[in-house]
C-alpha cells in the first residue's frame, strides 16, 4: 500500500497516515464510529477477506486506535472499540464524508447524514473557523514552519489557487 514508511517524516500528516495504516483501516474506523463492535460487523460492512481484516484490526490495536474489550453482553466474543486516540479521528472521517458528499457522491446519493444529537439539526461544515466560530476562507489559512513567527511568503492552504 505504501512503498516506504512515513514514520521517519516529521510532518504530522504523514505520521497520521502511517499510524492509520491504510484506506481499509479508515473504513474500519468509520464502521467503529457507526457502532460496529465485532469482527463479523466489520466483515459484513467491508466484505473483505478475514485475514485482511484481521491484520488491519491488529495494526489498529498496535497503533492504539482500537482496543479489544470483552463483549458487552457477556458472550465469548471479543469486541473492538475506539480508544480516545481513535475517537479523535472523528473530524477526519467527517471531513472525508463531507468532501465525498460534495465531490464524489454516489448516483443514489449519500448513504448517511450527520446531525446534532442535542438539537437534531444537520451538522455544520467541518471547516477552519476563527475563535468566534466564523468559517474562514481557505486562502486565509496560513502555514509557517513550527516555532517561527514569520510566515513563509505566500504560504497558505490555498496558495496554489492564486
Amino acid at each position: 500500500m505504501k512503498t516506504k514508511s512515513f514514520s521517519d517524516m516529521q510532518c504530522s500528516i504523514a505520521r497520521s497516515l502511517e499510524l492509520v495504516g491504510s484506506w481499509w483501516s479508515l473504513l474500519i474506523i468509520r464502521d467503529a464510529m457507526m457502532g460496529a463492535r465485532r469482527f463479523k460487523h466489520f466483515q459484513k460492512s467491508l466484505g473483505i477477506a478475514k485475514n485482511t481484516l484481521t491484520s488491519r484490526l491488529i495494526q489498529l490495536i498496535d497503533s492504539d486506535i482500537l482496543e479489544r474489550v470483552p463483549a458487552k453482553d457477556g458472550s465469548a466474543y471479543d469486541e473492538y472499540q475506539l480508544t480516545p486516540k481513535g475517537r479523535d479521528l472523528g473530524p477526519i472521517i467527517l471531513a472525508l464524508s463531507q468532501w465525498g458528499d460534495k465531490w464524489a457522491v454516489h448516483p443514489d446519493g449519500p448513504s448517511f447524514e450527520y446531525f446534532d444529537r442535542k438539537t437534531g439539526e444537520d451538522l455544520t461544515a467541518i471547516w477552519p473557523r476563527r475563535a468566534n466560530g466564523e468559517a474562514m476562507e481557505l486562502r486565509d489559512v496560513g502555514v509557517k514552519p513550527a516555532g517561527t513567527s514569520t510566515p513563509q511568503p505566500e504560504s497558505g492552504i490555498e496558495r496554489t489557487s492564486s
Copy 2:
C-alpha cells in the same frame, strides 16, 4: 494499495478515498497546498521515484483534484495546481495534521503550524461545531441513513465509547 475498488460503494468516505487514490496522493495534495507547483518540488519533498510521482500526478489530474497549467514565470515547465475540488480537501489535510500533532508528533515536534492570515492567531481546532460556532462533543454527533428522519438507536460518532 487497495485490494478492491471503493467506487461502487455508496459511502462518501469510501468514494473520497477512491478519488484521492493513495497516501502518497494525500502528501502530494499537502505539498500543493503548501505551495509546491512543479514536478521537482513534489519529488524533492516526497523523495519518491519519478515514475511513482508521475502516476500519482496523472491520477490526481484524472480525478480533477489537480490541473496542469503553464508555468507562472513563462518557462517551459508545466505546473500543477489544485482545482476547487482539490482545495476543498483542505479541511481533511488540516484534520490529519491536527490529529498527528496531538497523537503522532515527531520527537522534534511538528514541522508546520497553521495560522489565520487575517489575525495572525493560531488556527482553532478543526472540529464539529454547532451553528453558533460552539465546538461539539463527538458523542453529540449523530449518524442516520440519508433521507430518514429517525436516527438509528445509539448511532453516533462516539457510539463505541459507551
